[in-house]
Amino acid sequence: MKKNNFLNHIPKHLLIWIILVFTFFPVAWTVSASLRAGGGLVGQKLIPEVLTLEHYSNLKAIGFFNWIKNSLIVSLTTAILTVFFVSLAAYAFSRFNFWGKKYSLLTLLILQMFPAVMGMVAVYLLLFHIGKYIPFLGLNTLSGLIMVYLGGGVPYNIWLMKGFFDSIPDSLEESALIDGATRFQAYYKIILPLATPVLAVVAINSFIGTYSDFLLASIILKDPSKYTFAVGLRNFISGMYDVRWGDFAAASIVGALPIVILFLSLQNLIVSGLTRGAVKE
C-alpha cells in the first residue's frame, strides 16, 4: 500500500525536483565560485577544476569583517531597542483604556502601510541638518541609521505585539496586582516572559529586516569604513563581476549563512509572524 502511494506520487516528486533545481541553481553556482581557483566569471564550471579556500581567506582583505561588524551593530541595536520600546507601548495598548487610544491605534494602522523608504529624500535631508548640531546622529553615522530604522518599525510592531498580548489572559496580572505588585512589575515579571515568542518574532524580523536593507543604508552611509554588509558588498561587486566573482561568492555565503540558518531553524515562528492574517482564519 505504502509503495503504491509512493509510485502515485512520482510525478509530484518530479515536479518538485524540477522546481528545486531552479531554487538551488544560483546557490550551487555561488558555492562553486567561492571554492574555485581564479576570480572571474569566465569559464566557470559547476564542479570547480581546482578547489581552493583562497577566496575565504581573502575576506579580511576586502573589508568583509568590517561590513559585518557594522551590520551587526546596526541590526542588533535596532532589534533590541525595538523590542524594548515597542513592548512597552504594546502593553499599554493591550491592557488599558485611556484618552487617545482609539485614534492612536488607527493612526498606527495607517502608518504601518507606509514603508520608510518613501520618505527617503526627507530622511536624508533631516539627518543632514541634524548632523550639524548632533554629529553622532547625522549622515554617515551608524547611530543615525539606527534611529531611522527604529522610528520606521514602530507602527507595524506595536500592532503585531498588541495582538499577542491581547491573547494573554488578564487574570494572571490581576492576581499579581492583588499581591501588591505594581503595574510595571506585572508587565516585566508576568507579561514579558509569557510573550517571549512574539518578542522573538519582532526581534528577529527587525534584525533580518535591517541586515537586509540596502536603500536607507546606501543613502545615509557614505564613508567605506561605515558601510554595512549590503552597501559594502554591492559597491565591491558593482561593475567588477569579471574579476571579483570568487571573493564576492565567498563573502555572500559567509554573510548569508547566519541569516539562512536563523530563518530556517525558526521558520515556523518567523513565517507565522510574516504571514499574519492568512493562517488564523
Partner: protein
C-alpha cells in the same frame, strides 16, 4: 529609591521635554518656526500625559511615539514640504544664507584710494598693518576708521610693534591675501596687488523692506525670482536659494515633456510590473501549495524547508548573485542557453529581456512567501467540504474552482494586496538587478525603461547625472504615497468585508 518614586514621572517628563525641545529647535531651523512650534506642542502634550496620573498608560507609549514622530511622521511631512520647493543642486542654501554670502562680495571701484603698507610684529607674534597714501600720510585702523599717525617714511617701530624687514615681508604676504578690513560705509581695505592695499566696496546690499538686492557696481536692482536673484536683463546670480515654487513640480510631472514623458512610462511600467509579478508569484505559489498539500506526500517537511530557502537569503545577496549569473558575455545562464539552444540573450541590454529577467528573478525571490501563505490557507479549509463534493461526484478541477479558490482568495486577499503594494515599491529588485537599465532611447532622463517610481525617485535625489533634484523626487514620493494609501484603503475594505473583526479597542 522609595523617596524618589513620586518624582519619577516628573523626571521622566523632563527628559522627554529636553530631547523634544532640542529636536524642535532643529526643526525650526530646517523647516521653519511653525513646524518647530508644532513639534514642541506635541512634546509638551506628551509630557503632560506622562505627569498626569489619569493618563498613566501614556508613560509606556511616549518613547515609541517620540521616535516615530521624529523619524517617520516628520519625514513624511517634510517630503510634502520639499515637493513644493525647488530644493536641489544649485538651490541648496536658504535665501538668508545666500544673501549673507553675496553681501560678502566686494569690488574695486574706479578712482579708488590705494595705500602702500608695512607689516609690524609684536614680540607676542601679533601683527599690525600701517598704510601710507599718495601724499605720504601714514594711517592705522581703529574702529573701522583710518587714523593718521604720522607723515613721510614708515617708522621702524610703532608702540610695541617692530617693522618686518623687506627680506621677510613677502613671506607674510600669503597670510594677508584673504584679509578684509572693514571700514565705514560698506567699504573694505583689501590687498589689490603685492605692494598695495586698496579701498573696496561691498558689491551687493540687501534691502529687506523692498526685498531687493542692490548691485553697487552696476547700480541695478536684483529681484528674487524662481530661487535666484535676477538682474533686470534676466541674468541669474549664483548661488540660487531654496524657495517655494507652489505646484510647479507637479506641473512639470504632467506638462514638461522632459519630465512627463519618462514619468508616464515609469508609472505605466510600475503598475504593469507590480500586477504581473504578483500574479505570477501567487499563481506559481498556489500551484506549489496544491502539490504540497497532501498529507501522504513523502519528504514533505524537507521539501518545504528547501523550497523556502530563497526567502531566507537576504534579497540583496541573491540579487547581486543573479546579476552575475545573467551576465550577457560570460554569465552561466547564457553559456547554458548557448550550448543548448545556440542563443545568447542580452539580458540587461534590451528592455524586453531585462523585464523578463526581473519577472523570473522576482519569482525566485517571491514564490516561497506565496507558497507558504497558500499552503497555510489551504490547510485551514475543512476536509468535509471536499468529502461532500466527492459524494456529489465533483472532479478535482470542479472542487478547485468551487471550493478551494473562492475560500483561498477570501482568506489571502489582503495579503495579495499587501504583496502588490510591496512589489509596487520593490526597490531592491529593480535597483540591484537592472538598475533601471537599459536607458530610454528617445528621452534624455535618469530614468531607464525598467525603473519604477521609487528607483526613479532615488536616482533623481541621489545620483542624478545632472545633479540632485530633491523637489521633483519628493513630488514623485507623494504620488507613491497616494497610491499606497489607496491600496491600504482597498485592503481595509477587503479585510473589513471578509473579516468584520478588525480590533481597534
Amino acid at each position: 529609591m522609595n523617596l524618589l518614586m513620586p518624582f519619577l514621572p516628573i523626571i521622566y517628563a523632563g527628559i522627554i521635554v529636553a530631547i523634544g525641545t532640542f529636536f524642535s529647535y532643529i526643526l525650526s531651523i530646517i523647516a521653519g518656526f511653525v513646524w518647530g512650534l508644532i513639534f514642541f506642542l506635541v512634546v509638551f502634550l506628551f509630557a503632560l500625559l506622562i505627569v498626569h496620573p489619569k493618563s498613566y498608560p501614556w508613560r509606556y507609549i511616549v518613547p515609541s511615539f517620540l521616535l516615530m514622530f521624529m523619524f517617520m511622521i516628520y519625514p513624511i511631512i517634510y517630503t510634502i514640504q520639499i515637493a513644493f520647493t525647488n530644493y536641489g543642486t544649485g538651490h541648496i542654501l536658504t535665501k538668508t544664507q545666500v544673501i549673507e554670502q553675496l553681501e560678502k562680495e566686494t569690488f574695486l571701484p574706479e578712482n579708488t584710494q590705494n595705500f602702500e603698507y608695512e607689516i609690524y610684529k609684536a614680540k607676542t607674534g601679533e601683527i599690525l598693518l600701517l598704510f601710507r597714501d599718495k601724499s605720504k600720510n601714514i594711517y592705522k585702523i581703529e574702529d573701522k576708521k583710518l587714523i593718521k599717525i604720522g607723515e613721510g617714511d614708515f617708522p621702524k617701530e610703532y608702540s610695541n610693534y617692530k617693522i618686518v624687514p623687506q627680506t621677510k615681508k613677502y613671506g607674510e604676504i600669503s597670510k594677508l591675501q584673504n584679509i578684509k578690513i572693514e571700514l565705514e560705509n560698506d567699504t573694505f581695505l583689501q590687498m589689490s596687488d603685492l605692494n598695495t592695499f586698496s579701498i573696496y566696496r561691498q558689491r551687493y546690499k540687501y534691502i529687506s523692506t523692498e526685498d531687493v538686492l542692490i548691485d553697487n557696481l552696476t547700480g541695478e536692482k536684483l529681484i528674487p525670482k524662481n530661487g535666484f536673484f535676477v538682474r533686470p536683463n534676466g541674468q541669474e546670480i549664483l548661488p540660487g536659494f531654496v524657495t517655494n515654487v507652489g505646484i510647479e513640480n507637479f506641473i512639470r510631472l504632467f506638462k514638461d515633456e522632459r519630465v512627463s514623458k519618462p514619468f508616464l512610462r515609469v508609472f505605466i511600467w510600475n503598475v504593469l510590473w507590480a500586477t504581473l509579478t504578483t500574479f505570477i508569484n501567487f499563481a506559481f505559489g498556489l500551484f506549489l501549495a496544491l502539490l504540497m498539500n497532501d498529507k501522504n506526500l513523502e519528504f514533505k517537511g524537507i521539501y518545504r524547508t528547501l523550497l523556502i530557502v530563497p526567502w531566507a537569503i537576504p534579497s540583496f545577496i541573491s540579487l547581486l548573485i543573479w546579476v552575475g549569473l545573467l551576465n550577457t558575455e560570460v554569465g552561466v545562464v547564457n553559456r547554458i542557453l548557448l550550448s543548448i539552444f545556440g542563443v545568447k540573450i542580452p539580458w540587461f541590454l534590451e528592455t524586453k529581456w531585462a523585464r523578463l529577467a526581473l519577472f523570473v528573478v522576482n519569482l525566485w525571490l517571491g514564490y516561497p512567501y506565496a507558497m507558504t501563505v497558500c499552503l497555510g490557507s489551504l490547510q485551514s479549509i475543512p476536509e468535509e467540504l471536499y468529502e461532500a463534493a466527492k459524494v456529489d461526484g465533483a472532479s478535482y478541477f470542479q472542487q478547485l474552482k468551487t471550493i478551494t479558490l473562492p475560500l483561498l482568495l477570501t482568506a489571502i486577499g489582503p495579503l495579495i494586496v499587501g504583496t502588490f503594494a510591496f512589489n509596487f515599491n520593490n526597490f531592491n529588485v529593480i535597483y540591484l538587478l537592472t538598475g533601471g537599465k537599459p536607458p530610454m532611447a528617445d528621452v534624455s532622463s535618469v530614468a531607464g525603461t525598467t525603473d519604477i517610481l521609487i528607483s526613479y525617485t532615488y536616482k533623481l535625489a541621489f545620483e542624478g547625472g545632472r545633479g540632485q533634484d530633491y523637489g521633483l523626487a519628493a513630488t514623485i514620493s507623494i504620488i507613491v504615497f497616494l497610491i499606497v494609501a489607496l491600496l491600504s484603503l482597498l485592503n481595509f475594505w477587503i479585510s473589513g468585508m471578509f473579516k468584520q473583526e478588525v480590533r481597534y479597542e
